[in-house]
């Protein structure tokens, strides 16, 4: 009997942990879209957002590529980056992929859009030299410019994407 009790004791704890884990996973996802679909949607979304904002910001003369990167492939504490070649007018934007986001789909897509526009603003300023001491100030200014640009709206809507995804995964 004692032996049986001992064997059964971990069961409620395991059940509790399992429930808590699955609930937290559900809360993180926030919607029923499976992870693979989130990744695919994110990829599709950033590829749609980029040309819209590239054109809107008059950067059509740049050859800009975009790709999703795992958080480990980015600098710690960053959500994306841009590398450019001024002479060739080419650039690559990396956006943190869905595995780095613990928010619902619309919030994730909105943040990815912010990264794309933020990095495009960097491209606009690529010809200006920036001292290390001014980097933080420049980042603050770019964040504000990005917010201002996005406040005007336009472009592929993250909410529409999320709604379409929910329709497919009811």
């Amino acid at each position: 009997m004692t032996c049986r009790r001992r064997l059964l004791r971990p069961l409620p704890v395991s059940l509790f942990l399992l429930t808590a884990f699955s609930l937290s996973a559900y809360a993180q996802a926030g919607d029923p879209v499976p992870h693979e679909d989130r990744e695919a949607l994110a990829n599709q979304y950033v590829h749609e957002v980029l040309p819209y904002w590239q054109h809107r910001m008059a950067l059509d003369n740049w050859d800009v590529h975009i790709l999703l990167s795992r958080p480990d492939d980015l600098r710690p504490g960053t959500l994306g980056n841009v590398h450019w070649n001024r002479e060739k007018k080419s650039a690559t934007i990396r956006v943190m992929d869905a595995s780095g986001y613990h928010t619902d789909l619309p919030a994730m897509l909105k943040d990815m859009r912010v990264t794309v526009v933020h990095e495009l603003v960097h491209l606009e300023l690529a010809s200006l030299p920036v001292a290390d001491a001014d980097r933080s100030n420049q980042e603050v200014a770019i964040d504000q410019l990005t917010d201002a640009l996005l406040a005007d709206g336009g472009g592929p809507s993250p909410d529409r994407y999320a709604a379409d995804a929910r329709a497919v995964n009811p």
Partner: protein
């Protein structure tokens, strides 16, 4: 004749390629790292002469001291990469490539007030006497 020349060129290319290696690690300011390691080794020398106890003035102490303060910045002109517990300097072509790469990149941070300071680099090239002849450099 043409075939011989082609074969020689191919062999040269292959032999160069066979020695090329990849060095992944933290990108550092070589001048700063040199100064730090020099001062660390001189201080360890003086401490070892003043005490009879066996000390470990090792490169790891110098390395950890240098890596704390010597992060590469966009104003760095001489670079080094800390990989596999060693610090390798970049050759002059590598320094040019690294400086250009540092100036041609930007991040979006989680908080614009706290931009990360360290850079990781993937350097391809051939190493000789602690210096890498850089073929390509990719800064994370």
């Amino acid at each position: 004749m043409k075939i011989t020349l082609f074969a020689m060129a191919l062999m040269t290319a292959l032999s160069t390629a066979s020695f090329a290696a990849e060095f992944n690690g933290k990108l550092m300011d070589a001048t700063c790292a040199n100064q730090n390691s020099a001062s660390a080794s001189s201080s360890s020398r003086s401490s070892s002469s003043s005490t009879a106890a066996s000390t470990t003035p090792s490169s790891s102490t110098a390395s950890s001291t240098s890596s704390k303060a010597c992060d590469a910045t966009s104003s760095t002109t001489e670079f080094a990469v800390e990989a596999n517990g060693k610090t390798y300097k970049l050759d002059s072509a590598g320094n040019t490539k690294a400086a250009e790469a540092m100036k041609s990149r930007a991040d979006r941070s989680t908080s614009s007030a706290s931009t990360p300071k360290t850079y990781t680099a993937k350097v391809s090239g051939t190493e000789s006497n602690g210096t890498i002849s850089v073929q390509s450099i990719d800064i994370q």
